[in-house]
Amino acid sequence: MATSEKQVMVVGIDDSEHSTYALEWTLDHFFVPFASNPPFKLFIVHAKPTATSAVGLAGPGAAEVLPYVDADLKKIASRVVEKAKDLCISKSVHDAVVEVVEGDARNVLCEAVEKHHASVLAVGSHGYGAIKRAVLGSVSDYCSHHAHCSVMIVKKPKIKH
């Protein structure tokens, strides 16, 4: 077929600076240099934690708190979406799609890759050391082992000494 279908790149974002940095880095390196004709179609996916999973860590007596937690999470999600959209527009990327999917980030991102037949998944990295990873888990680690496409881990540079 003559017209090459655009490749799909999925970028996973959460509410952290690392994600924003990752999105910006990706836009700068794979979209900005190509101005009007970027080689990838960009899907930005925000995994919104479920209220129950966020509260689960808090302990018993949490049921009454659920609606507030949910409202909070919704606010965070829309803030994340707004930031992402603004960032894309500031880099002149107009056909990016921003999605919010509820669930654990690990699964949400791997499913997004399948759904959009992405060839690349880009994620930020909190730069946790070994202990924190064991306790908090690492989405970038999980994705690099389980996503069915190439995985790019974008790291916010540590201040060089």
Partner: protein, 159 residues
């Protein structure tokens, strides 16, 4: 101000996974951009040190073998260099340099990133499960945690 080209380091060993990673990178990150390559590509081959290979072989291996291993490793490095050049030519990618460094791939790759000021390090993945990783170690894992730049892990799709 003319923008300096970004540098992409890609790891190359003697496995089909590396070749696949190089081909994937050329196809997805170079070919679509036509004549203006977005990155300067540096292909880094980490040549194992004979002593380290001997250790895997066990006590029966003696020091007399070392010169022969050196020759073998040199031949492998040359073969890899040839394959890389051919592939890049085929994909019309001209700005490529090849760097063969001796040592453990984990360190070699992270040092190459520093040396070339790379913005991206691309590695293939042998796709080992958690057991094999624990025993053999995983270069892609190490690099993902320790390289000072973004790391792209290219996986050969399981058929």
């Amino acid at each position: 101000m003319a923008t300096e080209k970004q540098v992409m380091v890609i790891a190359m060993d003697d496995s089909p996974h590396s070749m696949y990673a190089l081909e994937w990178t050329l196809d997805h990150l170079f070919a679509p951009f036509g004549s203006v390559q977005p990155f300067h590509l540096v292909v880094v081959h980490a040549r194992p040190v004979p002593i380290s290979v001997l250790q895997l072989a066990g006590p029966a291996a003696t020091a007399e073998i070392i010169p022969m291993m050196e020759i073998d490793l040199k031949k492998a490095a040359l073969r890899i260099t040839e394959k890389v050049k051919d592939l890049c030519n085929k994909k019309s990618v001209k700005e490529v340099s090849m760097d063969v460094m001796e040592g453990d791939p984990r360190n070699v790759l992270c040092e190459a990133v520093e040396k070339h000021n790379a913005s991206v390090l691309v590695v293939g993945s042998h796709g080992y499960g958690p057991m094999k990783r624990a025993v053999l170690g995983s270069v892609s894992d190490y690099c993902a945690h320790h390289a000072h730049c973004s790391v792209m892990i290219v996986k050969k799709p399981k058929t």
